[in-house]
């Protein structure tokens, strides 16, 4: 589904990604871990097409298409979803209105007719139940005055609404207490299928107790320095990132 | 031009021409020509809509060339309790050398009247004077034409002037009216710090007109702390025009406290002409009786990436009038500017008024600017709560007013000065409101 080959990216003069290689297939969950400043969030942003980053080399293919040439909204329509580390506030725009616009724009891209009000409402009700979110929250201005947990739950709700092929969760666990974390993880797990894939970007192993990955990759200084199974995450938790740093230094 | 303006100008011209213009200063002549052209403000002048100063001048003054210095004044009772300072004293607009105290200044720091300056300093004064001030305000033009005395303060690069410089103005209107026009020119060079405290007081009940023009040039990475305390008599009319310009990385903190006077008008213009500048300018007016206090401020962001914050508060009692006009300009290309302003007022009596006009003019899109403005009265609930705890009404009122006013002092860094102002404000609120 996703094939990243030797991806390099920089912000201004500073090189952040120094040759990333990663293959993600449908039905898989990949975790990307690493110490602060290793380039985890940059990778997520580059895949979604944030303009602040310049791709200086490499390729990214998504279902056979070179997505680096696509506008961020076209990438979204192709099925890439980014759950933001810091969801953005848009005053006066309700989540419902926001989602209605998004769903219909994506349907338009795919040559489908727009959902009418009734069909949209039905879809929304169904997904609300799935991620245990309250309608009153969805009627309020997008993310404005939301708590950290509410913002993250809203991200997962949007993910459910848009039914992406590839979801990238960028530090979705940051700022969540254990109960909120469970709810978010449950939402993600119930959306998992053999047709979609998930990339979980996180600093801590904690989230991976609830969203169990098939593969774990450790990102350090802009490169994937170690890959393994979920056991790798446990090992990291026990030994800390210094263990990886030392290993890299020796090599 | 109205007849009032005409007659005053005529009188000024007739009484003053020889004395001033014989000194051969082209700048004075130019300023006078400008004053004649713009005339004195009327009630129709947008900038003086609520401040009928021309009428007051016409009614109360006879125009003479200037007031003599007052020799026999004791300044002790006017000195604020703020610890050791350098001291510059003016009486009736004239520098009083015998009362001033300027020993112990850091070497190379110059404090001198324009006239007594050595040749080299005179040429520096010549090159700086009038470069950042404007004479669009009629009283700035009047000052430029007629100033009696000016003080130049020069701090060369990388000097932290340890003690503040206190500039004390005393106008003695016991026997007869006073007309005084004074100037201050300050240049703080790269990386230097200076603190100026300016205090004005007056004696007697004869009318007094005092105009100030103050120019302060704050160079790269320099810091200016400037505090103005206005505590004049009820017959004093004061118009100050303070111009400050800031270069890259400079810091400016100003605080204006107005307690007394007949008509007090302060024009404060800050040009942010550098990047990464920070400016805080606060003000507090606690006025009663017939005092009119009018603060006009302009902060002009001409370069990107700077920050300014303005907070003016006022309490008006009796027939006192408050006027506030705050302009924020963000010029094209002054992107990433953060500029904030607030003006809060409390009216304490049936006849007190406030006219306020916060004004934003923005020509750059990537900026954060806001202004807020409120007018209200004391919270009755809070007042009752304090009384219910056994605090008498008058004290409770003073306490609440003090709480309202207090945060304007955050801009003062000098602890002695802060404590003095704190006490001054608290006493005034207890005694007079």
């Amino acid at each position: 589904m996703l094939s990243i080959k030797n991806l390099q990216a920089s912000i201004g003069e500073k090189e952040i990604l120094k040759g990333i290689n990663l293959e993600v297939n449908a039905g898989e969950v990949h975790a990307i871990m690493g110490p602060n400043g290793s380039g985890k969030s940059t990778l997520a942003s580059v895949l979604a097409g944030r303009e602040d980053y310049e791709v200086t080399g490499g390729e990214v293919e998504f279902n056979g298409k070179n997505i680096l040439e696509l506008d961020p909204s076209d990438r979204a329509a192709e099925g890439i979803f980014l759950a933001f580390q810091y969801p953005v506030e848009i005053p006066g725009v309700s989540t419902i209105n926001f989602m209605k616009t998004a769903v219909n724009k994506i349907r338009q891209y795919r040559g489908q007719s727009p959902l009418d009000a009734v069909a949209f409402l039905q879809l929304m009700k169904e997904k609300m139940k799935l991620v245990e979110i309250d309608q009153s929250l969805l009627s309020r201005s997008l993310n404005e005055g939301f708590s950290g947990g509410e913002k993250k739950r809203n991200e997962i709700f949007q993910m459910a609404m848009l039914e992406p092929k590839l979801s990238i969760l960028d530090e979705t666990d940051s700022g969540l207490d254990i109960d909120a974390l469970k709810i978010v993880a449950n939402g993600v797990n119930s959306l998992r299928s053999k047709n979609n894939a998930t990339i979980v970007v996180t600093h801590y192993q904690r989230l991976l107790d609830y969203i169990v990955p098939d593969y774990v990759h450790v990102l350090y200084k802009g490169k994937i320095v170690k890959s393994g199974t979920k056991e790798l995450a446990k090992e990291l938790e026990a030994k800390g990132y210094d263990w990886i740093k030392n290993e890299v230094a020796l090599a | 031009m109205t007849t009032a303006t005409e007659s005053i100008l005529k009188q000024i011209l007739e009484s003053s021409t020889p004395a001033y213009f014989d000194k051969g200063n082209e700048a004075r002549k130019k300023a006078f020509a400008q004053l004649s052209e713009i005339g004195l403000p009327t009630s129709k002048s947008e900038e003086y809509r609520f401040t009928p100063i021309t009428k007051a001048l016409e009614k109360r003054f006879t125009w003479t060339s200037s007031s003599p210095a007052s020799e026999a004044i004791s300044i002790d009772s006017f000195l604020p309790a703020i610890g050791d300072t350098h001291l510059i004293v003016f009486t009736n607009g004239r520098f009083a050398k015998h009362l001033s105290k300027l020993d112990g200044l850091e070497s190379n720091v110059v404090v001198s009247t324009f006239e007594d300056a050595d040749l080299k300093t005179k040429s520096v004064i010549q090159s700086l004077l009038g470069t950042i001030s404007k004479t669009e305000d009629p009283f700035a033009a009047m000052n430029s034409a007629f100033y009696q005395e000016g003080i130049f303060i020069h701090v060369p690069a990388n000097i932290q002037v340890a003690k503040p410089i206190l500039v004390l103005h005393i106008n003695d209107a016991q026997a007869k009216q006073v007309i005084a026009h004074t100037r201050l020119l300050v240049s703080i060079e790269k990386g230097s710090d200076l603190s100026i405290i300016e205090k004005s007081d007056s004696l007697g009940t004869q009318p007094c007109l005092h105009t100030f023009t103050e120019e302060m040039i704050v160079a790269e990475s320099a810091t200016l702390d400037y505090c103005k305390i206005q505590n004049d008599s009820g017959s004093t009319h004061q118009v100050s025009n303070t111009f400050i310009t800031q270069a890259d990385n400079s810091r400016v903190n100003t605080f204006t406290l107005t307690l007394n006077g007949q008509i007090i008008r302060n024009n404060l213009t800050i040009q942010i002409n550098g990047e990464q500048c920070e400016s805080h300018f606060n003000g507090l007016y606690l006025v009663n009786g017939n005092t009119l206090v009018d603060n006009h401020t302009v902060v002009d962001h001409q370069k990107p990436n700077s920050f300014s914050n303005e907070m003016y508060k006022g309490i008006m009692d009796d027939q006192a009038k408050g006027v506030f006009n705050g302009k924020i300009y963000v010029r094209p290309h002054a992107q990433k500017t953060n500029a904030f302003q607030s003006n809060r007022n409390i009216l304490m009596s049936e006849s007190a008024t406030i006219n306020t006009k916060p004004q934003l003019e923005i020509w750059a899109d990537d900026v954060k600017c806001s202004h807020g403005c409120t007018t209200g009265q004391l919270d009755e609930e809070a007042l009752f709560y304090l009384q219910a705890r056994g605090i008498p009404y008058a004290s409770a009122k003073a306490m609440l007013l003090y709480a309202f006013a207090l945060d304007v002092l955050t801009v003062i860094k000098n602890e002695n000065l802060k404590a003095h102002l704190d006490q001054l404000i608290s006493e005034r609120l207890h005694k007079n409101f």
Binding site: V88, G92 | S349, W363, D365, K368
Partner: protein, 481 residues
């Protein structure tokens, strides 16, 4: 930034949708303004002598007045002798029903999206249509008549209800109130009149559509709405004009009069031709709108969505005379290209316990200048007056300007006034968030701007709100990257 600018430069404004002109044979006054012009207009309309005298008095006052210069707008000198002050579309002398209206005219309104005949069946909105200063058709007259509501053209009201006109004309906006009001008082050609009797709640929205069609013509209409004790009316006003290279003058006067316990809600969607993207042409919209809350507990609420006009000079105001009366002003003003808007409100608190609320949302794009100018005046006897004002500006691009000039004058110690103003831009992070959800850039801008203006748009009646949202998006199309 550079990307924003690039997109801004690529920006080509969507052609003005209502920019067609209709071939209607017009009945015109000769160019220029004199007492004779005033007499011509009055004669054309078969007016009574007192009204002619009133006009002439206004004209003589106007002659002595000077055009105001305090607004933050710039335009070449207007040659008042180069304007045609009266232009009526030719039609039969009198119309007994819609069937007799010139079919071209009906088509005109259909293009505007307000089919007069269809209106009847569909929306339950009564419409008075004013084309080139003359009221051409009013719908729903009978239904309204049953309730005692008078809704007709101004000319008709002069004939049928002279006592009301005589009493209230100029009672809120005196003929010499300002330069443009005096001009209007001298040469106004028609407009709408509405009277809601005591205790009647008008069952439908009343609406006027204004259209300038003829070239070189000024439009000078007058609207007078009187809400008698305890009545309620919601009134809508919309307008369009053809695209022409020269500037055209629109100087209207609107007077609202609310008696005890009455409420008037007045909504405007102003979409006069704004000129082309180089600033050529467009309407000069110099309008005086004022409401008088005469009786206790009366309420007047202004809502405006200003997207059109080359220059807007307009301050819908409330004079709060009655105790416990209330004034509201909700405004969205959008300027793009070379448009200039200087708009806001005055809230004059005279009565005790009066309240006012101001919500103004300015949006500037292109090379436009957008100013909010407002006054809150608490007079001496207005005890316990309250005002809340919120004035926000949104800037799109670095070539435009946003200005706020609020005057707050308080003469009573019991007043509580709160004024807040902010300035912001559409955040790049907001745009990216939308893009990531599959919403393209144009739709993202429309979504964010409508969100920003929501508090005002919510005040509009449903049919207007939808139109207003579309207009906002249309006016700003392509203006941010």
């Amino acid at each position: 930034m550079s990307k924003d600018n690039q997109v801004l430069e690529e920006f080509t404004s969507k052609e003005y949708e209502h920019g067609w002109n209709v071939n209607l044979e017009a009945d015109e006054a000769p160019k220029g303004l004199s007492e004779d012009t005033v007499r011509f207009i009055s004669a054309k309309k078969n007016e009574p002598a007192w009204l002619l005298e009133w006009r002439l008095k206004a004209y003589r006052q106007w002659e002595k007045m000077a055009e105001p210069t305090w607004a933050n707008v710039h335009h070449p000198q207007i040659n008042y002798q180069d304007i045609i002050y009266y232009s009526a579309p030719k039609q039969k002398k009198s119309i007994s029903g819609l069937d007799e209206v010139d079919p071209e005219l009906i088509k005109t309104f259909e293009k505007l999206g307000i089919s007069i005949t269809e209106q009847k069946r569909l929306t339950g909105v009564a419409v008075d249509a004013v084309i080139d200063s003359v009221s051409v058709a009013t719908t729903f007259k009978e239904t309204l008549g049953e309730l005692g509501i008078i809704f007709c053209s101004f000319s008709e009201a002069v004939k049928e209800h002279p006592e009301l006109i005589k009493k209230y004309l100029g009672s809120v906006v005196p003929m010499n109130d300002n330069y443009f009001a005096a001009l209007n008082s001298a040469v106004f050609s028609d407009g709408s009149f509405c009277y809601i009797p005591k205790g009647v709640r008008c069952p439908m929205e009343l609406s006027t559509y204004f259209r300038i069609n003829a070239a070189n013509t000024g439009q000078f209409e007058r609207t007078l709405i009187i809400a008698d004790e305890g009545s309620y009316v919601s009134y809508l006003e919309g307008c369009t004009a053809p695209m022409r290279d020269e500037n055209q003058l629109h100087a209207a006067v609107v007077e609202l009069y609310a008696m005890k316990d009455a409420e008037i809600k007045y909504s405007t969607v102003q979409n006069w031709y704004p000129g082309d993207k180089n600033g050529k042409g467009g309407i000069y919209n110099f309008v005086t709108k004022r409401g008088l809350c005469f009786g206790d507990h009366s309420k007047i609420s202004w809502t405006q969505v200003e997207t059109g006009s080359a220059i807007t000079w307009k301050y819908p105001s409330c004079v709060l005379k009655g105790d416990y009366s209330m004034g509201e002003f909700y405004s969205v003003a959008v300027t793009n290209n070379y448009q200039q808007a200087d708009t806001g409100t005055k809230m004059i608190h005279i009565g005790k316990n009066t309240k006012s609320r101001i919500v103004s949302k300015g949006i500037s794009a292109g090379k436009s200048q957008n100013s909010y100018r407002g006054q809150v005046h608490i007079m001496k006897r207005a005890s316990n007056a309250r005002n809340f004002s919120q004035c926000d500006s949104l800037l799109m691009g670095d070539q435009c300007g946003a200005h706020t000039f609020p005057y707050i004058d308080v003469e009573n110690q019991t007043a509580r006034i709160e004024h807040e103003a902010t300035t912001s831009k559409i955040g790049e992070d907001q745009i990216f968030y939308c893009l990531q959800r599959g919403i393209d850039e144009e739709a993202a801008v429309a979504l964010i701007v409508n969100g920003y203006a929501k508090e005002v748009l919510n005040q509009l009646p449903m049919e207007f709100a939808v139109e207003a949202q579309k207009l906002l998006a249309l006016t700003l199309e392509g203006s941010v990257g």
